[in-house]
């Protein structure tokens, strides 16, 4: 393998890894906040992609411009999912964990079915975007602009999230609620409100990822599934609830996937990622940055 090909694999893995991280961070955030795994996370991503597609069609603006709007829409969706579904699942008297899993899983199936009914199972594609199909070539290394842009958005989102968590009252309220749900009520923090905002924030982050993906990926009611699986692995690898863990794990997953495809036949390329995941589960079950 030439150095050039090696650098190309490294770069592709890194860019894809940053996008995986951006997809996973919302999932991690929600889990960290309230110990609920959102099984509809992939469907949030799918709806974000459809939202981008629809908004491009209606407004004729570029996905890059529409990205904040998509994130805002997903924020509303995330908060609504908490207020309309998860809040009730959390009231279960027995076997709360299972009830939560089935509630979000049911939401996922509902959203998939609704998307297929409303948007048809056709594969959609956002045409004629500023970045779509454009590639930056640096000494024989090809860096697709949509992925480069996605990587920048991902890093910016992680930076912003860090500031939000450490510098604002809302961030402190999130952190406090995650530490002790009972105690925050005593100091006047409305637990439900924080949870709803947390779900909104988690969904908004996946909204950003959806808007980026819509530029270079096909859009389909089931598109979330393959990314969601990687997101779960990423979150488990990085440590449930850890924002920094999601970033590091996303990059690791991207790189391992890219290099496995070079070493093993590409049909087996997920093996590397899952082998790594298993190793982490055995050696460090809380994940790389987990605090459990």
């Amino acid at each position: 393998m030439t150095t050039q090909a090696l650098v190309q694999v490294l770069a592709s893995g890194l860019l894809m890894g940053l996008i995986y991280a951006l997809i996973a961070v919302g999932l991690s955030l929600i889990f960290g906040l309230m110990d609920v795994v959102n099984f509809a996370h992939g469907e949030f991503l799918m709806l974000a992609m459809y939202a981008t597609f629809g908004l491009v069609l209606v407004t004729r603006l570029d996905p890059v411009v529409l990205m904040p709007l998509v994130a805002a829409l997903l924020f509303v969706l995330g908060a609504a999912a908490y207020l309309g579904v998860v809040r009730f699942a959390m009231r279960a008297k027995a076997n709360q964990g299972m009830v939560q899993i089935f509630a979000t899983f049911g939401l996922a199936i509902l959203l998939q079915g609704a998307a297929q009914y409303l948007f048809t199972p056709d594969y959609r594609n956002v045409q004629n975007t500023w970045l779509g199909g454009r590639t930056l070539e640096l000494g024989g290394i090809f860096l697709p602009w949509p992925q480069l842009f996605g990587a920048v958005v991902s890093l910016a989102a992680f930076g912003g999230l860090h500031l939000l968590m450490s510098r604002t009252d809302f961030g402190r309220a999130l952190e406090a609620t995650r530490e002790d749900q009972g105690a925050v009520a005593l100091v006047g923090i409305d637990r439900n409100r924080v949870f709803a905002l947390g779900w909104g924030l988690g969904a908004a982050l996946v909204g950003l990822a959806g808007a980026v993906l819509a530029i270079f990926y096909y859009i389909h009611p089931q598109v979330g599934a393959s990314f969601a699986l990687i997101a779960y692995v990423t979150v488990a690898l990085g440590g449930f609830g850890s924002v920094a863990g999601a970033l590091v794990a996303g990059i690791i997953v991207g790189l391992v996937e890219a290099f496995t495809a070079v070493i093993l036949p590409p049909a087996l390329k997920s093996i590397g990622v899952y082998a790594l995941y298993l190793a982490v589960v055995f050696v460090r079950p809380q994940g790389l940055f987990g605090r459990l």
């Binding site: 190309q8 096909y218 389909h220 990687i230 495809a261 590409p266």
Partner: protein
């Protein structure tokens, strides 16, 4: 819950009984046919189009139409006293195990006389085995894996070509290009990891070796992958004279996009249809596929010679909102071939339908395909289903091979 269901079933049975009891409402006899496609999941779009194609055929069979297709003239099946066909659709979600379970349900509960399906070869494999066990004929419309008709099944029938026939046509075409003085030395295989891709690659690997084409890349990839960057990197490094992809729709779109992103323009592409026959692929990335050649069973330009093709296409388009393609045309024909056999069988008995299917002899000009005729060998394969090669030029497919069916010479290489 069970009680409520029992109650419902009971009520249903009662109302059925009362219907049967009323002679004034006695319905015309009907034949039930089970249709298995992925109606949800990543390949739902093909299933939804298949439904439109098979319902178009049903319209022709059950109602009177002035077309020279078997079953089109007259109402219902004449051989069964004008019985109409009723379809029961089942969703196998592209999962071989769900396909098996659904086939069993259709046979035991819905009492279907025959089955039609299933697009994904992996699903057709389990469905054909189930149909065999119950002695119910299975007309395999559009799965092209050659291993399907080599299992010694008695109830398996495939009117369309399989990938050996398709791939042979591809290499015949390459040989013909060589004779014209084109330099074609190397080929690259790119195929998905279920039996459709694996069987296709086995045939292509063998043909490449036999006919002296160097295999410079042999890439088996995981279907529905989030990224194909590493795979495309290998194809790009190999830079074969011809790229031979075997992919369903999602991967076909992603492959094309990734090739463009990594600055790889294959010199030529000859695709094993499937995803590369679907309009949605060309809606998404058609500009990057100008000059792509795909094998096919069908071409709309046949309508110039056979106006019936345009009529059937218009009927399908009214339902589906798109033209017939390689997949939907085969689904349509499967239903027509089955109806023709049901008509001659004059019975819903599995053995009699099997015997009628085995005796099928429909001349090519009574189909919408470029086939010589429909007549099955002992293995249930129609050996007269001549494949064609189509080239994507502008915004449509044009037949370029074999010469007897071609309407224009092929543009070669695709990207000079």
């Amino acid at each position: 819950m069970i009680r409520r269901r029992e109650l419902l079933v009971g009520a249903g049975a009662l109302s059925l009984a009362s219907l049967r009891g009323a002679p004034a409402r006695a319905a015309a006899p009907e034949v039930v046919v089970g249709v298995l496609y992925a109606m949800s999941g990543a390949s739902a779009q093909v299933g939804v189009d298949a439904r439109h194609a098979i319902e178009t055929a049903l319209d022709l069979i059950n109602n009177d139409h002035d077309l020279d297709l078997p079953g089109a003239k007259g109402v219902g099946l004449a051989g069964m006293g004008g019985a109409k066909i009723r379809l029961v659709f089942a969703d196998h979600q592209a999962d071989p195990q769900k396909g098996r379970a659904e086939a069993e349900r259709l046979i035991t509960q819905d009492k279907v006389a025959a089955l039609v399906g299933c697009y994904q070869s992996a699903v057709s494999a389990t469905v054909s085995a189930t149909a065999e066990r119950y002695g119910v004929p299975f007309v395999c419309a559009d799965s092209s894996s050659p291993s399907l008709h080599r299992k010694g099944l008695k109830y398996f029938f495939r009117p369309a070509a399989h990938d050996e026939m398709f791939s042979t046509a591809m290499f015949d075409f390459l040989d013909a290009q060589r004779k014209r003085g084109q330099t074609i030395d190397s080929v690259a295989l790119f195929f998905e990891d279920t039996i459709y891709g694996v069987d296709s690659s086995t045939v292509q690997r063998k043909l490449a070796a036999e006919r002296g084409y160097k295999l410079v890349a042999d890439v088996k990839y995981k279907s529905n992958s989030p990224s194909l960057t590493a795979e495309v990197q290998q194809l790009k490094t190999a830079n074969a004279d011809v790229l031979l992809p075997t992919s369903y729709t999602t991967d076909a779109i992603l492959l094309t996009k990734t090739m463009a992103e990594l600055g790889y323009k294959p010199k030529s592409i000859i695709a094993q249809a499937a995803g590369f026959s679907e309009k949605v692929t060309y809606d998404a990335v058609g500009d990057k596929l100008q000059g792509l050649i795909s094998r096919g069973s069908f071409s709309l330009d046949l309508a110039a010679k056979r106006p019936m093709v345009a009529t059937v296409n218009a009927m399908y388009k009214a339902r589906a909102g798109r033209d017939l393609n390689d997949n939907s045309s085969r689904q349509f024909m499967a239903m027509i071939v089955l109806a023709d056999a049901l008509d001659r069988a004059g019975s819903t008995d599995g053995q009699k339908i099997r015997a009628a299917l085995a005796a099928t002899d429909i001349p090519g000009n009574r189909t919408v395909m470029p086939w010589t005729k429909v007549a099955f060998g002992p293995d249930g394969q129609n050996v007269h289903a001549d494949p064609v090669l189509l080239q994507w030029i502008g915004d449509k497919f044009i037949t370029v091979f074999p010469e007897s069916a071609a309407v224009a010479p092929a543009k070669w290489p695709m990207n000079a």
